[in-house]
């Protein structure tokens, strides 16, 4: 069953069409990847779903609700939580505090929020750092905190904006099982990513976007051998010289 349906979504910035009539469906329980070269419009599409931007036209439906144009906090309350590519921790607060802010989405009580936050931190292997200030975390830890805070809101759909960007290869391989574990716990995931290998590894289905348009969709292996996709990433010549 489709949890998220994006239909004909277009986003224009005074003359520039950043996202052009894109369609996308995400079924419950899936991990869906969105890839594309720099400036392809991935993040704009992502922001339209998360509510940071209102699409110029088109419809976005999430488990029966029309969410296009809704505010980020309303979308979160409906069950979609996002992370940021450039992490935005509450830097002067501890890891536990940060995660509790997320946990308060489902409770009004301090104790409950704390218990839930600790569960999430244990799940993500961050509980040893719970009393550390967010500003003194390393980048991989901050990315993990970003995940913890989002998970603490108990989302049905998690939108991950380049959670692996900026990580070293070893750190990426540590992140992959974490994301899979989140998915296995019942959270549907849409992941926007640059690192092809990472996304190929994770996703059941991949959408490729270039110049604001969807140029391919399907299983990871089928998508990467698609000539259109190769052209978008490597240029015309590469397609011509391929045997």
């Amino acid at each position: 069953m489709a949890l998220l349906t994006v239909e004909n979504v277009t986003k224009k910035f005074s003359g520039l069409t950043a996202v052009n009539a894109v369609n996308l469906t995400v079924d419950e329980g899936q991990i869906v990847g969105v890839i594309g070269p720099n400036g392809a419009g991935k993040t704009t599409l992502f922001n339209c779903i998360a509510g940071a931007l209102a699409p110029s036209s088109g419809s976005i439906r999430f488990s029966g609700h029309e969410i296009a144009g809704k505010k980020p906090y309303e979308i979160c309350q409906l069950g979609i939580t996002r992370t940021f590519q450039v992490v935005k921790p509450f830097a002067t607060k501890t890891v536990l505090y940060n995660t509790m802010v997320g946990a308060f989405a489902t409770t009004n009580h301090l104790k409950e929020a704390e218990e839930k936050a600790i569960q999430v931190l244990e799940f993500l292997g961050l509980h040893k750092k719970k009393n550390v200030f967010a500003k003194s975390l390393t980048l991989p830890e901050r990315k993990r905190l970003e995940l913890a805070r989002a998970l603490a809101t108990e989302p049905k759909l998690l939108l991950l904006d380049e959670v692996m960007a900026g990580l070293r290869p070893g750190e990426v391989t540590e992140m992959l099982p974490t994301i899979r574990k989140i998915n296995q716990a019942g959270v549907t995931i849409v992941i926007v990513e640059h690192i092809m290998q990472a996304i190929m590894n994770l996703s059941e289905k991949i959408y490729v976007i270039n110049f604001g348009k969807k140029i391919a969709e399907g299983e990871p292996l089928a998508v990467v051998s698609d000539p259109e996709v190769i052209k978008a990433y490597l240029g015309d010549e590469y397609v011509a010289t391929q045997h």
């Binding site: 980020p72 906090y73 802010v101």
Partner: protein, 349 residues
């Protein structure tokens, strides 16, 4: 007193000792002028703690809070002078009115960031003062413009009149008000509202993504802050029994509150208290000895202190004091304690 039980025994004992000392203070300090200075320190600590709800926790810098002091003072006084309403009730009416005004002002301005919000609040504060200065009469209320309002002393006034011959009752009233507002601050910081305010103040975009309607929580903070500030205004009116726009609605008062908060440490429970303890004596001394030669000198001194504090302790003097207290005084006292009986140690904060 549940918040005390969570503290280490040493801190708890010191706090209880300090509280006992504060409640017994009027038996030691018998000079009315000295008591008045202490009352004003507590009064400013109270006003700044009220300011702290929005200025300390909501990530904005209000510079027009004297408007709410004025609303409180004028509401309770006008109700008393016109209809004989007890100032105790007028106090609450003033508080509610200030909350309402705060919400109306906050709705468009709390979305402004940084200096723009500060400028908007200055404009509102000054606008209200000029308005009051130019109004002689509204309906049944004699506002009397710049001349201000005088509350007549009644002999053998009943408790409901909220006026006392001695300073001592005022001392206890403002002390209880301060303790109440500090307790409220503590409760707020450890609640969903406190977490959401901190999140929205620090990273509004991330907060919204976590389901927080940041503007709503800022408005809640504004309403609480304005209510408490106005109650302080009513207290001021009853203490001096004379108010005029410049005395309670001027920029000077707004700035002084902000100075105390910034120097003491905004966004902390005890920062406003420390700020008031340090800065109030400065304003009193300059006012007593230099007011004819250099009026307003205390604000110049505050400004210089602020520059130095912001340069070396941008989070306020609470930070080095807390460090001193936790790292040196508590271990020192605990060590002493182990050997002999504690001999009434005084808390330095």
């Amino acid at each position: 007193m549940t918040f005390l039980s969570g503290q280490p025994p040493m801190v708890r004992n010191l706090t209880l000792l300090l509280l006992a000392g504060l409640f017994l203070l009027p038996t030691v300090v018998t000079s009315p002028s000295m008591l008045q200075i202490i009352i004003l320190i507590i009064f400013y600590a109270y006003l700044t703690s009220s300011w702290n709800f929005v200025g300390g926790f909501a990530g904005v810098l209000p510079l027009g809070h004297s408007a709410f002091v004025g609303i409180g003072a004028y509401t309770s006084t006008l109700l008393y002078l016109t209809w004989g309403v007890s100032p105790w009730i007028g106090m609450l009416v003033g508080g509610l009115l200030a909350s309402l005004v705060g919400l109306i002002i906050g709705l468009p301005t709390l979305k402004l960031r940084g200096a723009y919000f500060a400028l908007a609040t200055i404009a509102v504060g000054e606008g209200l003062r000029v308005l009051v200065e130019n109004v002689e009469k509204v309906g049944p209320f004699e506002v009397r413009g710049p001349k201000g309002l005088l509350i007549n002393l009644v002999e053998d006034a009943p408790l409901s009149a909220f006026q006392f011959q001695s300073k001592v009752p005022y001392y206890y009233i403002i002390l209880v008000m301060l303790l109440a507002v500090l307790y409220l601050t503590h409760r707020m910081m450890n609640s969903k509202v406190g977490y959401y305010l901190a999140a929205g103040g620090e990273e509004p975009e991330a907060a919204e993504a976590l389901g927080i309607k940041v503007s709503r929580y800022k408005l809640i903070a504004m309403a609480i802050s304005c209510f408490l500030t106005a109650i302080g205004g009513s207290f001021y009116a009853q203490m001096f029994l004379y108010i005029y726009p410049k005395s309670i609605m001027g920029l000077e008062l707004s700035y002084e509150i902000a100075f105390i908060a910034l120097i003491g440490g905004r966004g902390t429970i005890l920062g406003p208290v420390i700020g008031a303890l340090l800065l109030r004596p400065v304003s009193d001394l300059t006012r007593i000895y230099l007011s004819s030669a250099l009026p307003g000198l205390h604000l110049v001194i505050f400004g210089l202190v602020l520059i130095v504090v912001m340069r070396y302790q941008p989070k306020g003097l609470i930070v080095p004091l807390r460090h001193l207290f936790n790292r040196h005084i508590i271990p020192f006292l605990s060590r002493k304690n182990g050997k002999s009986d504690p001999v009434a140690p005084q808390k330095s904060e």
